[in-house]
Subunit: 289 residues, 4 copies
């Protein structure tokens, strides 16, 4: 159920609190404080006003607000949003060992900082969440509390972007795309099988497959319409098959068969274009735009 | 124990047969036939004369000669050379399952062709030997017998090259080398960790590690002084560490960390130079010289 | 003055002849012959019907038709279209020496073949027209007459595409574009001065200048909305200035300053994307899409 | 006439002064002062001792020493070394206009600083000398006097390296080399015509031509055995001919014909390896090693 910014600007306070309050994990005071800034010219302004309310609150209220968020992989994700977000990165189906590790990290974190580990899971792979956990556990409380609010910012920005439509939508989605250019023929490489894998420890899990079209691109971005999870990826291109179809002699076995490109995403809202330029004997790649 | 070509040219027939006969798997008639062509100007000429003797022999004698070679992974490698060659590719330490597969293929092969599967193991990885087994089993007997003699040619050429020194040595060794160029700095990338892996089925086994020197190269070729085994390889370059040491900001995590280059060798006596040109955001490779 | 295909399909024969006849250099019989095929589903069909009429005509009529076209750089371009086309490539402002050369070639051509040299000038640079003149003079009459009709095909296709609007427009325009990627920074190179030159003998004449925008591209294609003239080109990119603005140290003088990319166009209706990927110490280019 | 370092270390003071004095433009006191440091372990030590003597001298003596050097393009190069050095960059054959410009700059320079413009001409192209003239004229006297001594350092280092042989020769020579790799074929490009041009204003003068050998390299470095003159260069590679010989179809005219690589040298004692990796549709270059 989405609502327009125009409607939000027009409704009475109680309706406004209901409409946007849930995005802030059952904290109606945030909506109430933001109310004073209505009407909003853009959805980004609405979000900024709500985050401004959190930042302007006394530390005790901020802390209560952060504490109100569920543990990662915990038993009690309060809101449906929380549940859905945690499921998206596989935290709802952890192995007993991984579940135990998460809980151990979470307990250490809460013992040290006095609030649960906040992270916008949709902006991370599972590996990246673990890496963040270890890294942030080592920080001082002030830095880490600022990070917790920053994560709330990311989480609520995504929720508002999903619920409110209107002018000035915040940039919450990234894009991962590729194309394959056959520099032996001076043409796009058509019909090349492409696979996208996500790194998980020492292994790579397949996320997507595609075949390059007449322009050497995939019809859809490999990831799009959502944040790009921070983490490690591998693209695999079946260029050996491509050159074999073209009848090009390139050794037996061919010098290049499946070409892997391994890279990491650090900007979930960014555009990562990772193309492959190749001949049977050479290739290059780059972060393009 | 090596012998010079000059000494070989001078010795009496009996000594000549002993000196070069073993290279031909206990077939003194080959040495005897080659004897008529002495003296040899080059070691390659010596080998050509011996192979010429095999090719000129009646089919029955050729067949007996081929049959005299041990089975791959068999229990009875007749000569020390055979034993050493089979050990080089790990055929002496096969798992029971792999051992059974080799024997099954070998039995099918002998049943179809009437002679054991000949392959110059030092020119192949284990994967490549299996691949050759499957491929050659499907051939017609005439083509396959020619291939068997060709493999004898490779095997004996390596043996002669190891035993005889002198003018005109046959080209039996290949070379795999790399270098890393940091095109962000316009300089060789110094101190980069490089690993070489050999493909075995779905896995990669590490063959060698090196650190690039002041010229961005490794002090020794990654493989040298022997044939390059036909098969799949992966080079891995720790370029993320390199740019981190240089203090270059390239995202967190960095866009490129360990860069894998996956390629195959098809010419065991060739030179494969597989360099990496890289920035924190791009890289290229090619088969160079 | 353009006309819609729908209107063309509806008008009476006399109006139809007037509307499309001029495209065929005052040859109403072509329009009359095509009339039988009305209505046309696409503009391409209309053009195909008119060219079909020319191809089906007796040789004498074809010859008269070709002879009715003005000489290149002649004094008497019959139609305004002819005049405009010849001006587009600078044939109206030739130096006395070049004018003499054109006339000499034209005289030799007419003496040999009995009809004027036909060429769709909008698909060529001046250099390319001269090169075609020399090359085609050497051909046999049959091949050359077929080429003359092919050039009429190109000329009239462009004229119809300019006069008639509707479904199924023929592909008559090409596109030359570029982009600049700074692989040192992993971002599009913004604000880079780009110049496009056309080769004329030993010299290069500037055709266009542009500055790369936030996406490293030029706001408009360097050539677009017309055929790409066959011939030699050079792109020049002020990458030295770009890296200087970024504060990157790259030698004094810098290793790269203005990077020239020299290439030729052979497909006037094609898309030539010629990008530059560069660091202060390296660059690459390719024909992309 | 060269002399060994061992002989220099052994000879009496008068002979030593004669042997090395001329390198310092008729300043026997420099040799006399350096004499105290004999014997020298390396030729670099000898040069360092002589330059140390200059640097330790009172300013008046340094100034007299610098003033003793001939004007660039002057009528009175005192020593044969000076004459030869100025000839090497074409300063002995300037056009009247260029000659006048040099004299004008020189007069302004001497009027401002009180000593002639010192520059190690063998480390510069003519363009670079002019550029240095303009740039250094704008400096403050202290900075510029230090630069003058630095140029004496370069000049005398080259002279000593030419006259004295022995251990620890100073690094005075650079190297410019190339190679051409055909990444369409995965092999060195053999038989490719390569031309090297030096930039002079808007024009390029050809310095060298070569044909790539079996390894895709030139048999000799394009510049070697001397400092690389600071300045602008262009390499031109006839890759269109190469692919035509291979029978590769790449458009008519071919997309790439003569590929120019334009770059500058800033380190006369450095190694510039500027290769070309190319297909008929793409190429790349980089400063390699």
């Amino acid at each position: 159920m989405t609502v327009t910014l125009a409607d939000l600007n027009r409704m009475d306070l109680a309706a406004f609190e209901v409409a946007v309050g849930e995005a802030f994990e059952v904290a109606p005071w945030v909506a109430a404080a933001a109310n004073a800034r209505r009407p909003f010219a853009t959805v980004s302004d609405l979000h900024a006003a709500m985050m401004g309310a959190v930042r302007a609150a006394p530390r005790e209220q901020q802390l209560a607000f952060v504490r109100n968020h569920p543990d990662l992989a915990g038993k009690a994700a309060v809101t449906e949003d929380s549940q859905r977000e945690q499921a998206s990165v596989g935290l709802d189906t952890l192995s007993p060992k991984a579940f135990a590790r998460f809980h151990r990290l979470n307990d250490s974190y809460k013992a040290k900082f006095g609030f649960p580990f906040m992270i916008c899971v949709r902006r991370h792979t599972r590996d990246s969440i673990l890496e963040q956990f270890e890294r942030r556990l080592a920080r001082d409380p002030e830095t880490e509390f600022a990070q917790a609010l920053q994560e709330v910012f990311y989480i609520t920005r995504l929720r508002l972007a999903a619920k409110v439509t209107g002018e000035g939508m915040p940039q919450v989605n990234g894009r991962l795309s590729t194309h394959v250019l056959d520099t032996h023929a001076g043409r796009p490489a058509v019909g090349v099988a492409v696979e996208l894998y996500e790194q998980a420890g020492e292994r790579y899990h397949r996320l997507a497959t595609a075949i390059t079209n007449g322009d050497g691109r995939t019809d859809q971005p490999l990831i799009g319409g959502r944040p790009l999870p921070i983490g490690g990826y591998e693209l695999r291109f079946a260029v050996g098959d491509h050159f074999r179809r073209r009848g090009i002699e390139a050794g037996d076995p061919p010098f290049l068969d499946v070409v892997p490109l391994r890279f990491s995403v650090a900007e979930p809202e960014g555009h990562y274009h990772v193309p492959l330029l190749c001949t049977p004997w050479s290739y290059s790649t780059y972060r393009g735009s």
